[in-house]
Symmetry: C2
Subunit: 159 residues, 2 copies
């Protein structure tokens, strides 16, 4: 950051930024609301369950899970503690290396994902994919990749 005159946003950029900022808030709220209403869980809890459900053996290291769900390890630890109380996940030290903790989706947890996923996917489709053209969807993917890259150059999601 140098001391020169800041590069303010012009009218179009302003419009774009307001539009994006609103979308970020509204999307978060809408997805949390749908999941709270239909499944009594937060979006982040859903992401944890869904990510585990797609992992080999439905098992993953906490640190790996934190990266894939874009959350801090601390946040994940608190959330998994809650999910454990519901008997959807259990934790155990990694037998190969005691420093790691494995999070494992239980059968009950799997059933929760199966019950919740269709409604959630439907909502994502309704709010994001249905309103956009194919071309807009392609561009959106590229935009996400570039912005994520700018935020964290060591981020995943290449190609």
């Amino acid at each position: 950051m140098d001391a020169s005159e800041p590069r303010w946003l012009n009218a179009e950029e302003r419009q774009t930024w307001l539009s994006l900022a609103a979308m970020v808030i509204n999307l978060s709220n809408a997805l949390d609301t749908q999941l709270q209403r239909d499944a009594q869980i937060t979006h982040f809890e859903y992401q944890v369950l869904a990510t585990l459900s797609e992992a080999a053996e439905r098992t993953m290291r906490m640190s790996e899970l934190a990266v894939l769900t874009n959350g801090s390890l601390s946040r994940l630890s608190h959330v998994v503690k809650r999910l454990e109380k519901q008997d959807w996940v259990r934790r155990t030290p990694d037998p190969d290396n005691g420093r790691y903790t494995l999070a494992i989706l239980t059968e009950t947890g799997w059933e929760k994902v199966v019950a919740t996923a269709p409604g959630h996917v439907e909502e994502v489709r309704r709010l994001v994919f249905d309103p956009l053209t194919q071309a807009q969807q392609r561009t959106l993917r590229a935009i996400g990749q570039r912005v994520n890259q700018a935020i964290d150059p060591t981020d995943t999601c290449p190609q």
Copy 2:
């Protein structure tokens, strides 16, 4: 929601969705981090101050401010109480209609915005505009409008 087979996301849509979900989280975090580091305020607090700074007389009704900042009235009320303690904003009943409350940016609050805005705009530019082409920016604006429209059909931001 009918009972038929859910319309799952295909591989490309999945990619797009992961990319967007990550962007939503990462952008929120990055902007909050920058503002916390450089100005000790949250992104929402900044939005409130910045929105007031552009209003006529630097004054706005609470309910109007809530809409423009995409927040609930309750959230706004809590936040403005905090901003009042810092002497950045003050509240007074609307003389024209006692049901409304006017939020007014103080001189100190104005100075806070002036001091904070350049660094914030720079960060927005770095994370969002610099990595995107002009065409992507145009598409992003359209995407935001369509998605916001899908989430809340009575939403503003037409044209």
